[in-house]
Each structure stands twice: as structure tokens, then as C-alpha cells.
Amino acid sequence: MAAEHAQHDEHPHASAAKYVQVAVILFVLTALEVVLYEICYGGLAPSMAGLSSQLEPWFVELLLFLSFWKFWFVAMFYMHLKFDNKVLSALFGFSLVIAFVVIVALLILFIYNRGLWWQTGQW
């Protein structure tokens, strides 16, 4: 019975080679985040002023974009969501949607109370 159950739960997870590939991708994405910061505000900003001025308006968006992909790779491959039962993906996805709604709702609520930021232009 136990063996049946063990077999029942087995899903083809990624290979060790795939885990190494994902680790390299995660490392590169983290390095890109730090390099982005260094170009926009850190030690590289004076020597790369042109690129810095182009990237600076998009700093937050680019960081969130890089973080999203790191999150995705960990969830899909290391947490095995790509291979596991889709009910688990739905459970996690639903929680993330609610969490995102909570963050947006709280930000809007408190920023609104600070005095209509779309009129003052300041948070």
C-alpha cells in the first residue's frame, strides 16, 4: 500500500542538469539586478552617465521584471510546479493573486489618504 502511494505521488521532476541551468540563470539575473543598480545609482553611474540617464526612469520596472523571472524559475523548476499536479499551481497562483490585490489595495488606500497623489504628484 505504501509502495503504491509512493508510486502514485511520483512525478517526473527536472534532471540535475536542468537544476544547474536554472541556478546559472538565477545567478545571472541577480548579477543583472546589481549591475543595473550600479549603473543607475552606484559606482558605475559617473562613468556610464549616458546609459544611466536612459535606464534610470525604468529602474523600478526593470528590477521588478528581473525579479519576476527569478520568482518564476524557482517556482516552476525548484518547487516543481511545472511537473506537479496543476491543483498545486492553482493553489499557489490564487494565493499570489490575493497577495497582489492586498498590496495594491493597501498602497492605493494609504497613498489616497496622503492627499491625492495624482494631483500633488508626490507619494
Binding site: 502511494h5 537544476y19 550600479e38 518547487m79 498545486l88
Partner: protein
């Protein structure tokens, strides 16, 4: 009790629900779902109080990017180490399991140590818990994350002890998989905290 009912009861005792998922795995994913909401409120609080402190020190006075980047890399590598350990456990490769799991526990200890050092350093620079809005929200968010890392490290250390004693055979690899899921969750939370709390606070 009817035979069908007894069968059902036996099945439930064998960790299975009507879904083809072990109920321990379902439970850890449900727990992770609730943790998403917990950290969402803490991250929201940090963002709401961002730039609202009337007195220093602020993020630009104290944050050190190289130290935190090192900690981030260690945590990311620990996620890789734990999946390799799980791979070893599922294959029944004891040497692989022990090597990678030991490295994971060491990474967890390093990260927790890094955070303790960081907190002490900030405290000596004048950033107490109640110094300003930034300090309160920063310590609360990263402190809770650090507590999760510590719990995860202890959890993995108990599994390492089992593995050393030979009590983690392939048929019990789900025990490690569940702990690894928690560990990866702690990692993905840091994937959000690192840019949102550290890098964005240092930007304009």
C-alpha cells in the same frame, strides 16, 4: 463500519485525499499560500512608510549592497543545493544527499548569521527598532524573513540528522521535498525583498 468506509478511512490514514496528491504536500502548499498573504502585508507596510521617516538614519545611510548581494547569492545557491539533495534522496544516493543537504544547512546558517551581523551593525549606526518608520518596517519585514530562514535551517538540520542515521531512504524522500518547498518559498520571498527593500530604497 462498511467495507467502503473502512477503505476510505485507511486511505486517509495513508496520507491521501481524493486528489492524487499526498495530503502533507497539499498542506505545505496551503501553508505557503497563507504565508504569501503574511509577507504581502509586511511588504505593503514597508512600501507605505517608504520615504515617510522624519528623522534618520535612512536606507542610503546604512545599506551595504555588497553584503546583501552576497547573502542573496548564498540563499539562491542554497535553493539549488536542496534540489540536488532531493535528487540524491530520490535516487537513493546517500553521499549526494548528505553533501548537498549539508551545504544547504551551512548556507542557511550563513544567511541567518549575515542578517544578525547586519542588524547589529545597523543598531550601532543608530538605527533602533523604534528610531523611525523606516527602521520599524524594515526590521519587522526582514526580521520575520530571518525567523523563517532560521526555522527552515533547523528543519533541514533535523532531516540531515535523519539522513546521517540512514533514516531518509527514497520512499521517505517526500519528507525532504516538503521541507525543500518551504525553503524555496523563503528564497522567493527574498527574491522580492532584495530589490524592493534594498535596491529601490537606494535609488531615488
Amino acid at each position: 463500519m462498511s467495507s467502503a468506509a473502512m477503505d476510505h478511512g485507511h486511505s486517509a490514514g495513508g496520507h491521501h485525499t481524493s486528489l492524487p496528491i499526498d495530503n502533507r504536500k497539499l498542506a505545505i502548499w496551503t501553508f505557503i499560500g497563507s504565508e504569501c498573504l503574511f509577507f504581502a502585508t509586511l511588504i505593503s507596510t514597508f512600501l507605505i512608510y517608504r520615504g515617510q521617516s522624519v528623522s534618520g538614519p535612512g536606507p542610503k545611510d546604512i545599506f551595504e549592497v555588497p553584503l546583501v548581494t552576497g547573502g542573496t547569492a548564498v540563499l539562491l545557491f542554497s535553493s539549488f543545493f536542496v534540489v540536488m539533495a532531493l535528487n540524491g534522496a530520490q535516487e537513493g544516493n546517500r553521499k549526494k544527499l548528505l553533501t548537498w543537504l549539508s551545504l544547504t544547512v551551512l548556507c542557511g546558517m550563513f544567511f541567518a548569521g549575515m542578517q544578525v551581523y547586519e542588524f547589529m551593525h545597523f543598531y550601532h549606526l543608530g538605527l533602533g527598532y523604534s528610531t523611525n518608520l523606516f527602521s520599524a518596517s524594515f526590521y519587522t519585514l526582514t526580521g520575520f524573513h530571518g525567523a523563517h530562514v532560521t526555522m527552515g535551517t533547523l528543519w533541514l538540520a533535523t532531516l540531515l540528522k535523519d539522513a546521517i542515521k540512514g533514516n531518509l531512504p527514497p520512499e521517505k524522500s517526500l519528507n525532504l521535498e516538503i521541507a525543500a518547498l518551504y525553503w524555496h518559498f523563503v528564497d522567493v520571498v527574498w527574491i522580492i525583498i532584495f530589490p524592493v527593500v534594498y535596491l529601490m530604497s537606494l535609488g531615488n
